[in-house]
């Protein structure tokens, strides 16, 4: 019976102490090979940072879009604006010329 009895766990402090590494040794090991927890934490932190950045840029984009929506001037290509301005200027000048020639009193 006594033989079948499970052996009681006895803490052998002497042996346990042998397994404890000195603090400097532990630190050195920690730097060279990060423990899984630290790795995960760092990865999560980086992920959250990128999410924050992404949110910020999305907010900026949203604000720009809102500004553009509020603005009277729509977002059109620069070349379209240029040719529209030229066309607009020519139309005013030409219609003024025609008006002066047809109905103007010299």
């Amino acid at each position: 019976m006594a033989k079948n009895r499970p052996q009681a766990k006895v803490i052998d402090f002497g042996t346990a102490r042998k397994h404890v590494k000195p603090a400097t040794e532990a630190k050195a090991t920690g730097t060279s090979q990060p423990k899984p927890f630290l790795e995960t934490w760092l990865k999560n932190h980086e992920d959250s940072q990128s999410v924050v950045q992404e949110n910020l840029s999305l907010k900026q984009q949203k604000r720009r879009l809102e500004e553009e929506r509020d603005s009277l001037i729509p977002s059109i290509p620069e070349s379209t604006l240029y040719y529209t301005a030229i066309f607009f200027g020519l139309i005013i000048t030409m219609s003024w010329l025609i008006g002066s020639l047809l109905w103007g009193k010299s």
């Binding site: 603005s71 001037i73 977002s75 059109i76 620069e78 070349s79 604006l81 240029y82 040719y83 301005a85 030229i86 607009f88 200027g89 020519l90 005013i92 000048t93 003024w96 010329l97 008006g99 002066s100 020639l101 109905w103 103007g104 009193k105 010299s106």
Partner: protein, 317 residues
Amino acid sequence: MWLGIVLSLLTMFFWALSDVLLKVASVHFDVHPVLFISLTSLVSALVLLLIAGPGTRGINTLRSPHTWSYGTMNVVQDMSQMFALVYVTATVMNFMNRLTIPLSLLLSFIFLRRKPNRYDLIGVIPVMLGLWFIGTNISEDIRIPALFWLVFSAVASILCAMIGETHPESLAANDIPTKARVTGYVVMTCSACFLLAMWIMAAAKSAMPEAIQGFGWLPTYEDFLNPSTFLFAVALGFTVMPFALYFFFQATRVAKNEVFMMISSLLPFMTFAMEWLFSKAGLLDIYQLKTTDLLFGTLIVAGALIMVYGRHKHQQT
């Protein structure tokens, strides 16, 4: 150095020519000042855009509130000069335009806390004396409206310069085509808005003449259809104005700021030479211009030169 001086002189030549032609238009061709200036600005903006070609900064220019305030002030300044030219010669107008010197000193002291230096204080005395004497030399029956438009023009000019110095798109524009394009967009939009507003006013004047009786300066449909307004404005807008702006851009790029300021203070004399030539050709009558005006004008220019020298010395130290 010499190229900068030549370009600055060319700018002055075209500025003087445009002022004298504005005087000729206001005296001989009975043009409506607001319509004439708006159409001249629109045509010169069109030429500037054609010279510049398509490119960047257009949308941002139009979205900037600076654009609208600068453009409005620019057109208002030109119009007030045109109204002033009805009463005084282009030479006197250019001398009196130096009202900007004491006014800008005062405004920058009040709003920007910028203290004037010793040369500013010495220079501003002959400028003020010259302005006072030329002002009192203007015939008594036209003095009040003439001075009103001259002061109005000087204030508009200062505001224009202040807004122009802080215009983000204008400051970011480094090369000549971009500057021409930005200026073209600014001037075209504002002059077109002025023309539209004047058209609405003319329609209102035609529809209810009793209600707008007090606003005699507003144009009528007949003013729009005056062939002289169209022909003179298009000629000036196509030939003189774009050249004046082009040489101004080039001169401010090549010449040092002090060199350009020094040469620009000689503008009234260039205008006088131009007016004299026009009067010899029988296109202009400059009987109003007195020898004392030129003497007091010399006092103004001397004061302005002292101030330019002071700025130059201050920058060297």
